[in-house]
């Protein structure tokens, strides 16, 4: 029996070796550098408590992530609710409307938002021509722009786990509640919402951890003025060559994400978050 298993273990080996040599090792090195450069010790981590700029970046990131997660959950829930209760034929189209943005390049989407929102962009031009405003609005290269772009990126990620948990709700329960005279609002608040809670938590965890380390969209739509941790880390390494500080923040980021996952794995099955592969 044992010897038979050896063949199956051999199948796992290439992926395991590749992953260890070219994924885990570079990341382990990041964690190590944060304790050794510029001098061995916890000096870099001390900056978490003493440096105002480090604290500002963390607070900005947390604020944007909380806002993004709430909005993505709200919009995602509305969309998933509509899809879950749609007829079979309509459902296909609605799902396509979620999947298409999910797979379109993040750069293309950020570029599209710049086209729409910049000073001489399509939105400002349209509003000026309609006479609604006389001065162009500052819609991008600030926190507002970042949030518009990030929520746009995250809504599909919120919809998928939400939809999976809503599809598990037995439609006969809703019909029964209606038959017993419940209003639409009561059916939603007392039956549908509680039953969809596992999906809501899973979607929240997924969107939050994706938002924490997001680089491209905040970098393009923030215009270098509003810094989130990922861009800040890149800046430390590429422009300021402060490896200690950059890797310290990277380590904090990884720990924050793993801690979030660990806490919520007690509340919700992580399989819901990462699909059946988890």
């Amino acid at each position: 029996m044992r010897r038979q298993d050896a063949g199956w273990w051999l199948l796992i080996l290439p992926a395991f070796l590749l992953m260890t040599a070219f994924y885990v090792a570079p990341i382990a090195q990041v964690l190590a550098i944060s304790f050794t450069e510029p001098s061995p010790g916890l000096g870099n981590y001390e900056r978490l408590f003493t440096s105002e700029s480090v604290q500002r970046v963390i607070l900005t990131t947390l604020r944007i992530c909380v806002i993004t997660t709430s909005l993505a959950l709200l919009l995602g829930y509305i969309l998933a609710y509509k899809i879950a209760l749609a007829s079979e034929a309509a459902r296909q189209w609605w799902i396509l409307a979620v999947l298409v943005p999910l797979w379109i390049s993040v750069l293309v989407r950020a570029f599209a938002w710049v086209t729409l929102l910049r000073r001489q962009g399509l939105v400002n031009n349209a509003l000026m021509e309609a006479g609604v405003i006389s001065e162009p609005l500052q819609l991008v290269w600030n926190e507002f722009g970042i949030i518009v772009g990030m929520v746009h990126y995250m809504v599909p990620y919120a919809v998928l786990p939400l939809l999976a948990s809503m599809r598990e709700i037995d439609p006969r329960l809703l019909a029964a509640a209606r038959g017993l005279g419940a209003s639409r609002l009561t059916i939603f608040g007392r039956v549908f919402l509680p039953l969809s809670m596992p999906g809501l938590i899973a979607a929240g965890v997924l969107v939050f951890i994706f938002s924490l380390g997001f680089y491209i969209t905040p970098a393009i739509l923030g215009g270098g003025k509003t810094l989130m941790v990922a861009e800040w880390i890149g800046l430390q390494i590429l422009d300021l060559i402060r490896w200690g500080l950059g890797t310290m923040m990277a380590t904090v980021l990884v720990v924050a994400i793993l801690a979030t996952l660990a806490i919520f794995s007690r509340v919700v099955d992580l399989r819901r978050v990462f699909g059946s592969g988890a």
Binding site: V30, Y81, S105, V114, Y215, S276
Partner: protein, 262 residues
């Protein structure tokens, strides 16, 4: 009479608004790419294909497209071979330790690419892999493994393990069982995984920003520079070409799924 519970008019309207929010930015690049003006705008007097001509006539853009394509093909091959075999091994052995290995394979989705990118920047400098085709293909291949592991594991979940046992019972070797029994059954899952791994590499920017500079200049890297330096309508033409390409891959995946479910 329709007894199904349907959302009310307000929620339906809100759902439409969300769908428009999701789709408008992607569709707006189409008219912008056809503008007759020299700056980013909607077409004023006529539609024009000149910005497409600019892109498709530029050796820099074509070179980047070609490089991205080659890297995506190489990294997809790495991800598909390693990911498929790993998913099969984990599925067949199915115990605590293989669950851990599967969790390990998902790390690239969970850990932000900026953390991996700065680590790789330093790591590849020692291995002399910076700004090399092989380096980028390896990085994209390894980070593409999770997509293959997920889709193949899903396909395997629907596979009857007794088929494998029967094949082995009748004296088939492991490689025969793999080739004639398991792989044909999970082929649609493997193709799905390959498509996702391909798109992952094709779109990847953060890692490339750190480990490539001059010799390897992928398409996302060129778009990134374009967005940061000169916002001209040629960028919109590139965006449309990318959207069309991604849509074709997505439709291919949906068609394959339909055939599998049928």
């Amino acid at each position: 009479m329709d007894h199904a519970h349907r959302p009310g008019p307000w929620i339906s309207a809100a759902a439409w608004a969300v769908a428009i929010y999701l789709l408008v930015p992607i569709t707006i690049v189409i008219p912008v790419s056809l503008t007759d003006q020299r700056f980013l705008s909607l077409p004023q007097e006529a539609l024009s294909l000149r910005h497409y001509a600019t892109v498709l006539g530029s050796p820099e853009w074509l070179n980047s497209i070609w490089q991205s394509f080659l890297i995506a093909v190489a990294s997809t091959a790495i991800a598909v071979v390693a990911g498929t075999l790993c998913a099969i091994g984990c599925w067949r052995l199915s115990r605590k330790s293989t669950e851990l290995i599967r969790a390990l394979m998902l790390l690239p989705i969970i850990i932000p690419s900026i953390v991996y990118a700065i680590g790789l920047y330093r790591y590849f400098a020692n291995l002399d892999l910076l700004d090399r085709f092989l380096g980028v293909a390896l990085a994209h291949g390894v980070t593409g493994i999770p997509y293959v592991v997920i889709t193949v594991s899903t396909a395997l979940a629907a596979f009857d393990p007794r088929l494998e046992q029967a094949a082995r019972g009748m004296g088939a070797s492991l490689s025969q069982t793999l080739r004639w029994v398991i792989l044909p059954r999970i082929a649609p899952g493997i193709v799905s995984g390959a498509i996702f791994a391909f798109i992952h590499s094709w779109d990847e920017l953060v890692i490339v920003l750190f480990i490539a500079s001059r010799d390897v200049f992928t398409l996302p890297r060129r778009i990134w520079d374009g967005i940061n330096e000169n916002l001209d309508p040629a960028m919109a033409a590139v965006a449309v070409l990318l959207v069309v390409f991604t849509l074709l891959l997505l439709l291919l995946d949906l068609a394959l799924r339909k055939r599998r479910d049928a």
